[in-house]
């Protein structure tokens, strides 16, 4: 099995809650708790979840905007924990991020050219001023924008164009990996469609790998090869997207897919049977014990509120963190005999890091 371009193991990010006169730490928001996954070269790995699930924190921690509380992040075989300054500089040019709202991620007082020139100057790309100008033109071309936008300001651009500039800025340093945090959710669907196609084109053209964060299930299904479903800081289901949607096992995954607003009758028919009831998303500062979904789950048993579920591989490359995974999987017709696999229970917090888009990949750990 090839080593993933990005390997995340037992990643944790806790934010302290301070209170009182001396700002004492009275608790922690466990924004990301024991999260492990790998992104293969050339893959689009999706992270899906609702607000407070920690999906954006995962991305920000990976690109080192946050310092992880614990856990390891390996990029192209190099461990980033306690890495040297040079390694980090290399890493920052390799891994870039595109944020949801291009209005707030672009400085309104600087021209497009000056926004795009920054990374070139920092990394000494393009040489002379003239060379950089050439580079900026070709970057804009890469995101299908005309060079005449160079001297405009973000306010003169539409939402879609601004996001293109943000993408061009990320591409300026020739990265091999992009963390895309809801890059199209602020845009109209016809504009979103153009950007999605741009992302797919760039991936092929430049050999990029993406971590694609979204709350849009349909979008996840269409673009991600594999995906993880997060809820209150943890991953509850992970696998090839096709399998996640064909056989969603975890009641939360089912709830998400069933709630997805769809436009055609065909999509309505593939929605799974729900196994949850109405409820609110718990606060990550005070998550329910055991499986965080148990208060909303209709198949929860007493054990669910006491113990965290261990990962179970219900079919090749498809992992579920649920105490009822075995029962739910057979009810769903995911027969282990069919896939020729036994249900493997993995001990404790050890989590699977998976191989190429699900086929024949054996669960293995990194490092």
């Amino acid at each position: 099995m090839t080593e993933p371009i990005l390997g995340v193991e037992n990643l944790m990010k806790y934010f302290p809650i301070r209170s009182g006169l001396f700002r004492r730490v009275v608790g922690h928001v466990k924004a990301v708790d024991h999260v492990s996954f790998g992104v293969q070269e050339g893959e689009i790995f999706g992270l899906v979840g609702e607000s407070g699930s920690g999906k954006s924190t995962v991305a920000k921690t990976i690109v080192q905007l946050y310092r992880p509380t614990a856990g390891t992040i390996r990029f192209k075989g190099r461990d980033l924990t306690g890495a040297t300054k040079e390694t980090m500089r290399w890493f920052r040019s390799q891994a870039q991020m595109v944020f949801q709202d291009p209005k707030s991620s672009l400085n309104p007082r600087r021209s497009i050219a000056s926004i795009l020139e920054d990374p070139l100057i920092v990394y000494g790309i393009g040489g002379s001023r003239r060379g950089r100008e050439q580079m900026i033109r070709s970057l804009l071309e890469q995101v299908e924008m005309s060079g005449r936008y160079m001297y405009k300001y973000p306010s003169a651009l539409s939402g879609g164009q601004r996001q293109r500039v943000a993408i061009a800025r990320a591409l300026a340093v020739h990265p091999s990996f992009l963390a895309l945090d809801e890059p199209t959710s602020a845009l109209d669907v016809s504009v979103q469609a153009k950007l999605i196609n741009l992302f797919l084109g760039l991936k092929e053209e430049l050999g990029l790998s993406y971590l694609f964060i979204t709350h849009n299930l349909s979008l996840l299904r269409t673009i991600a090869g594999r995906a993880a479903v997060m809820y209150v800081g943890r991953i509850y289901e992970l696998g090839p997207t096709e399998l996640l949607f064909r056989h969603p096992i975890h009641p939360y995954t089912r709830a998400l897919i069933a709630a997805a607003p769809v436009v055609t009758s065909e999509e309505e028919q593939i929605k799974p049977q729900q196994m949850s009831k109405e409820g609110e998303i718990p606060s990550p500062a005070n998550p329910p014990s055991g499986c965080a979904f148990h208060p909303r789950c209709s198949v929860a048993e007493s054990g669910c509120s006491e113990e965290l579920p261990s990962p179970v591989e219900v079919e090749t490359g498809h992992w579920v963190w649920c105490h009822q995974a075995g029962t739910l999987a057979s009810a769903e017709g995911v027969s282990r005999a069919e896939s020729g696999l036994a249900v493997v229970e993995m001990p404790g917090e050890r989590a699977p890091l998976l191989g190429e888009s699900g086929d024949r990949a054996e669960p293995a750990s990194l490092g």
Binding site: V189, S190, N197, L217, R221, T222, P261, E280
Partner: protein, 334 residues
């Protein structure tokens, strides 16, 4: 002149704005109807004029800068464009009420949910024909009841809370309670639940759908989210650049759109089945100060003919209980 069961009837509405660059002709002859108890979606992308249409109905467009050179807006049989500010005030919250996308910014942060809800109830009472003033206890009870109908547990406690103390879903519920407490005949919902998470949004939409069905309240749903429209509405109008492009029953229109714009729009939506979105629609929404003549979609349309730039296509009947404003269909019926 309105039909018996028509709560909202907009006819050939034009709305213009005098701006620095010239005259911005935003709405260009928009017509649509909502029957009593019917749930209708008005869909379009940013800048298509759906919010302007909604603001006109609510009588909250300032004139100037807005101009209404042509058209009528009948709400429960009366033309809003001819109403005095007092008449408009009387109708708000009673004939028509509204919920917005972001519940936090439409609630006042310094008053409790109870105070705000009671204000709304009092406001409704003020115009009611036969009512004396309600006692404080009666008002509080009515407020608690209103919260119970939107399935907020522990209503008494929530009445004492401030908007910031509620979750997004609870705020949206409280807002729905306020919008429905005076039993309006038409509810205008502007992107309801769009700011919420999907599972919470689904709960809110299901709740809203149940309540309006029960009370026989008509809904005009204004959104860019086609999925939400399918979830909520029976009939839909697709708007593009200040014109209605297509109208029809939601399911049949979404499964088989006819207007080239509707087709491009629907094809852009990623599907749960995994079908990749098409390449989007080429070009961008026009500038309203120099909107294209004829069909405003023609510069972006791959089927555009000479006629399209000259003549605005009328809404014509097409198969599948459809009205389509496109010269491709304006010849003979299919």
């Amino acid at each position: 002149m309105t039909g018996e069961g028509t709560i909202l009837d907009i006819r050939d509405l034009h709305v213009w704005f005098r701006v620095y660059e010239g005259l911005s002709r935003v709405l260009d002859g928009v017509s649509f109807q909502v029957q009593e108890g019917e749930r209708v979606g008005l869909v379009g992308e940013t800048g298509c004029g759906k919010t302007i249409a909604m603001k006109t109905v609510m009588g909250i467009l300032k004139s100037p800068p807005a101009q209404f050179p042509q058209g009528e807006v009948f709400l429960a049989g009366h033309d809003v464009l001819k109403m005095s500010p007092m008449e408009i005030l009387r109708m708000k919250g009673r004939t028509v009420s509204m919920i917005f996308q972001d519940p936090l910014s439409s609630l006042n942060p310094v008053f409790t949910i109870g105070q705000q809800l009671i204000d709304v109830i009092r406001y409704g009472q003020r115009w009611a024909a036969n009512s004396g003033r309600l006692s404080r206890a009666r008002l509080a009870r009515a407020a608690a009841e209103a919260l119970t109908t939107v399935r907020l547990p522990d209503a008494e406690r929530i009445l004492k809370l401030y908007p910031l103390e509620l979750s997004g879903g609870m705020r949206q519920r409280a807002l729905i309670a306020m919008a429905l407490v005076n039993k309006p005949r038409l509810l205008i919902a502007d992107e309801p639940g769009t700011a919420l998470d999907v599972t919470i949004q689904a709960q809110i939409l299901a709740l809203l759908r149940g309540l309006v069905k029960e009370e026989h309240i008509a809904v005009l749903l204004i959104t860019h989210d086609l999925g939400v429209v399918r979830e909520m509405a029976e009939r839909v109008y697709i708007m593009y650049a200040g014109q209605v492009a297509e109208e029809g029953p939601v399911t049949s229109l979404f499964d088989d759109p006819r207007h080239p714009y509707s087709q491009g729009l629907l094809a852009s939506v990623p599907r749960l089945t995994g079908k990749l979105p098409a390449r989007g629609i080429p070009g961008t929404v026009p500038d309203y100060t120099e909107a294209p003549p004829g069909c405003r979609f023609h510069p972006r349309c791959e089927h555009a003919m000479e006629k399209c730039a000259e003549q605005k296509p009328p809404l014509t009947e097409a198969a599948g209980q459809r009205l389509v404003a496109c010269h491709l269909y304006s010849g003979a019926k299919e």
